[in-house]
Amino acid sequence: MIFNFEYISAIISSTLRMVSPILLCSLAAALCSKAGVFNIAMEGCMMISAFFAIVVNFYSGGNIMLSVLAAIASSMAVSAILAFFIIKLKASPVVVGMSINTASSAVTTFFMYIFFKTKGLFQHPDLVGLTKITPFFADAFPDLAQMFFGLTFIDYLSWVLVVVIYIFLYKTVLGYRIRAIGINQEAAKSLGTPVETYQFVTMTMSGILCGLAGVLLSMGSVTLFIQNIASGKGYIAMTANNLGKSHPVGVFFASLFFGISQAVGSFLQQTQLKGQITASIPYVATILASIFESIRYRRLREKKIKESMKLGN
C-alpha cells in the first residue's frame, strides 16, 4: 500500500518543496563559511523575510514581485547588521547570531500585532501565494509531472543557484579571492585583498538567499505567517553546510537528505504515529547525520593513513 506510485510521487513532490528553503539557507551558510565568517542567523533572516513578504503582499494587494523584493531587502538588512557586528565590532558570531534569531521571532510577533492585530497566526483571503509553475512536460508525462506540481520559480531558482554559486566560487577571480580569505585571512590580507569588505559584502549577499528561503516559507506551499515559521530550518541548514563541507554540490545533497527527512516526517503524520514523534524526525535525523558523517570522515582518514604507510614501506 505504502509502496504504490502515488505515495512515492507524493513524497518526492513534498521533498522537492521542503528542500528548497534548506538548500537556499545552506548555500548562504556555505558562502559565508567560504569567506571565513560564521553565520548562524539564517533562522532569523528567514523569519524576518517571510514576515515582510506577507506584510507587503497584504498591503500591495498581492503583488508578488514587490513581496519578494521586500523579503530580500529585509533579509539583506538583517544580514548587514549581523555582518557589521561580527566583522566591524568583532562581536561573537554565535552570540550575535543567536540574538538575531531570538529577536527576529520577537520582532515578527510584535509587528504582527501592530499590522494585523493578531499574534500567532495570520492568514487572509487577500494574500496571494507564489505562482505554481506547471512543468513543460506535463502533457507528455503526466505521472512524472505530478512530482513537480506545486513548485514555484524560487524552487527552480534554488537549483540553478547551486550551479551559479559553484561557478562563482570555483571559476571566477572574485570567488577565488573569497575562498582565499576563508583559507587564510592573514595571507589574503597581505596580498592586498580588502578582507573585511569582502566578508561584509559576502555576508550581506548571503541575505538574498535567506530572503528567498523566507518567501518560500510564507508564500510557497502555504500562504500565511505563523510565529517561529522557520522552526529550526536555519539550524538544519547549518548542519547541511557542515555535511556538504561548504561545497555547493555537497550542500545540495545534504539539503536533499534533510528535505527527505522533513517530507517523511510530515508524511508519517497521516499514519498512526503520534505527531510529536514525526515532528522530531528532522531534528533526530540532523543529529544522526552529523554522527555518521564524522564516522565516515574518520574512516576515510584512517584509510588514507594506512595507504600512505603502505607506500612508505
Binding site: V95, T102, F110, G232, T239, S290, I291
Partner: protein, 358 residues
C-alpha cells in the same frame, strides 16, 4: 605594585559592569524608539516596564518568581559558556528536569520534604544525563555542540509533549484542551509569603548562586574550567584534560538546568504544562544574563532579576497600554548583541593605557 594592580583590576571589573549598563540603556532607548515608531507613548512605555517589574511589592515578588528559572538557566550557561562550550542545551535540560519532576513527584509516598528532595534529585540526574548525551556526541564525533544541543532542545520538547499528551495526561482536568500532567498535591514547594507567588525555589536559586560562585572561583575544577574557556590550547598544554573538564562542566550545567526546571514545576505550576519551558524563553534569557555578567555567578543573579523584571513589566504594559509584550524580547536581543561587541570598544583603550606607561 600590588595595590595598583588591584585598583586596575577593580576598574577592569567596573568597566565590565559599565559596558553591560550601557548595553542596557541602549537597549531600552531602542525599545522606546520602536514604541514611538509604532504609535505608543515611549516614556510611559519604558516607565511602565520598570514600574511593572520593580516598583511595588507585588511587582518585585512576581519578578523574583520569574527570575528563579532564569537564574538556573543563567548559572548553567555561565558554567558552560564560561568554560568555552557554547551549549544551547539549557532549554532541553530544563524540560527534562521539569517533566521528570512532574512524573516522579506523584509517585512517591511519604512526607512532603522527602518527596521534594527525591524529586529534585531525580530531575538533576535527568538534566545531567540529557546534557551528557549531547556532550558525548559532540566530543566523540566532533559534532558542533551548539547545533547538537539546539536539535536536542526540539527533541526534548516533543518528547515531553508526547508524554504529557499520551502517557501522563491529567485524567481529571476540567479543561479538556489543557495539555498538562496530573496536579502534584504532596511535595510542592511552599510560598515564602502567602500573598505573593515567590516560592522557596528562589532561596534555592540564591544558594546555587553562592555554590557556583564558590566552584568557579575557589576550586581547582573551576579554575580548570575557566582556563579552558579562556584559552583551550594553553589549558591543554598546562596539563588540563579538556575532555574530562568538558564532561564535568556539562554534567554540572545540565544538573543545574534540570533543577531549575523541577523547581518551576514544584513551585509555580505544580504540574508539567505543555510548552511551559519553551514559550517563556527561560533558557535564552539565562544565556543573556550570563553574557551580560561575563559568566560571573553573582552577575547572573543581578542580570536575571533585571531581565525577569522587564519581562514582568512587559506583560503589565501589554495589559495597560496594549503594547505587545514581545518588546521586552526585542530589548533583550539588542542588549545581548551589544554585550559581546563591547570587547572591541574596550581593547583599543587598554592598549593606549599600556602604551602610555611605557
Amino acid at each position: 605594585m600590588k595595590t595598583k594592580l588591584s585598583i586596575k583590576n577593580f576598574f577592569q571589573h567596573f568597566s565590565d559592569i559599565s559596558y553591560s549598563l550601557i548595553a542596557v540603556v541602549i537597549g531600552l532607548i531602542f525599545g522606546a524608539i520602536i514604541m514611538a515608531a509604532t504609535g505608543f507613548n515611549p516614556i510611559e512605555g519604558i516607565f511602565g516596564l520598570i514600574k511593572g517589574g520593580f516598583l511595588s511589592p507585588y511587582a518585585i515578588a512576581s519578578t523574583f518568581t520569574r527570575a528563579t528559572p532564569i537564574i538556573f538557566a543563567g548559572l548553567s550557561a555561565a558554567l558552560a559558556w564560561g568554560s568555552g562550550y557554547s551549549s544551547m542545551g539549557a532549554q532541553g535540560q530544563m524540560i527534562m528536569g521539569a517533566i521528570t519532576a512532574a512524573i516522579v513527584a506523584p509517585l512517591i509516598k511519604g512526607p512532603a520534604i522527602l518527596v521534594v528532595i527525591v524529586t529534585l534529585a531525580a530531575s538533576m540526574v535527568a538534566g545531567a544525563l540529557f546534557s551528557l548525551i549531547s556532550a558525548y556526541i559532540s566530543a566523540k564525533y566532533d559534532a558542533y555542540l551548539l547545533i547538537i544541543t539546539l536539535m536536542f532542545n526540539y527533541v526534548a520538547d516533543y518528547f515531553a509533549s508526547y508524554l504529557t499528551n499520551y502517557v501522563f495526561l491529567d485524567p481529571y482536568a476540567l479543561d479538556k484542551l489543557a495539555i498538562q500532567t496530573q496536579l502534584i498535591e504532596n511535595g510542592t514547594i511552599p510560598r515564602i509569603f502567602s500573598r505573593y507567588t515567590t516560592h522557596y525555589g528562589f532561596i534555592v536559586a540564591l544558594l546555587c548562586v553562592a555554590i557556583i560562585a564558590f566552584i568557579i572561583n575557589k576550586t581547582s575544577f573551576g579554575y580548570k574550567a575557566r582556563m579552558s574557556g579562556l584559552n583551550p590550547n594553553f589549558a591543554e598544554y598546562g596539563g588540563i584534560e579538556s575532555r574530562k573538564t568538558m564532561y564535568k562542566v556539562l554534567l554540572l550545567s545540565g544538573a543545574i538546568a534540570g533543577l531549575g526546571g523541577a523547581l518551576e514545576v514544584l513551585g509555580s505550576k505544580f504540574r508539567y504544562v505543555d510548552k511551559m519551558i519553551t514559550s517563556p524563553g527561560y533558557s535564552w534569557s539565562g544565556i543573556t544574563a550570563s553574557l551580560m555578567s561575563n559568566y560571573s555567578a553573582v552577575g547572573v543573579l543581578i542580570s536575571s532579576i533585571f531581565l525577569a523584571g522587564i519581562t514582568v513589566g512587559g506583560s503589565s504594559i501589554e495589559l495597560m497600554m496594549s503594547i505587545p509584550s514581545e518588546i521586552t524580547l526585542i530589548i533583550q536581543g539588542i542588549i545581548t548583541m551589544l554585550v559581546t561587541a563591547k570587547f572591541v570598544i574596550r581593547l583599543p583603550k587598554f592598549s593606549k593605557k599600556e602604551g602610555a606607561k611605557k
